[in-house]
Symmetry: C2
Subunit: 135 residues, 2 copies
DNA sequence: GTGTTTGCAAAGTGTTTGCAATTTA
DNA sequence: TAAATTGCAAACACTTTGCAAACAC
């Protein structure tokens, strides 16, 4: 990878998002290393620790913009347990019930030979997601 | 089925829940006919329409008790979109994105020949749930 | 400069809880 | 009568929004 700064900046510009200080900081935290599952609060804390104070409102707004722009996926594990996933490829998840943590399952690891169609309506499948809860 | 009243009463007593007026009313609405996906608010409204006023707090508490007792399953579709499912057998769901409605997929309709194990921990799989979003 | 973005505080949504009053067994 | 349940209102966690100030281009 080139330097993180320009990598993030380019990602943002590609999607028509201005590379503001806040978006750059959050982007850098999200995309510094491999795939991540982060909650809004976690990211807010990380930003604070990195001396990049960003308000909670901005964290939420930014994460939603990133999701909208296709830069992140939202994963809802439970009521009040929402993660933002930097892995935007189709994939599945293990959920560790003890901790609430997630682990990605690459799409090709789960084969579903036949996907059924709904009875009631035309089938225009937009996604298939599998959650495997373990404890 | 015998009469609904005693059917519900028995269900409750079996799980150690007293058949109070409120629980009987909510149970009757839930189990009158085939399987249902109901939100707390929906059920609250239905109870009101059936002239069985039950407070919102009691609807929530009761639904949670029913889930705890294994009489219902909770299905979270989106942040702030939680359903209570009277189908307690293992199964999967279609989610209609337009309406947020659910349709059950019987477990045997979705075959996953090989379930992977998580990398990081011992695999003690408690459930596998598939959500197919359609629009 | 002009339009976009931010941060705050306030509002919103869906859900849970403390507690006095009521109901059930 | 003793223990469980209910309903209210308040509290809650998480998220969104309105708007003035700050920023990016």
């Amino acid at each position: 990878m080139v330097d993180l700064e320009s990598f993030v900046g380019q990602k943002l510009r590609e999607r028509g998002l201005r590379p503001t200080r806040q978006r750059m900081a959050l982007g850098a935290l999200l995309w510094a290393n491999g795939d991540r599952h982060v909650s809004a609060e976690q990211l807010h804390n990380e930003a604070k620790e990195a001396n990049c104070a960003v308000s909670m409102a901005t964290v939420y707004n930014t994460l939603n913009q990133f999701v909208e722009a296709g830069l992140l996926k939202m994963v809802i594990v439970d009521a009040g347990r929402t993660y933002f996933d930097t892995n935007i490829l189709p994939h599945h998840h293990f959920v560790f019930e003890k901790t609430g943590e997630l682990e990605d399952i690459p799409a090709e690891k789960i084969v579903i030979p036949h996907i059924p169609s709904p009875l009631s309506k035309e089938a225009d499948i937009s996604s298939v997601s599998v959650m495997i809860r373990v404890n």
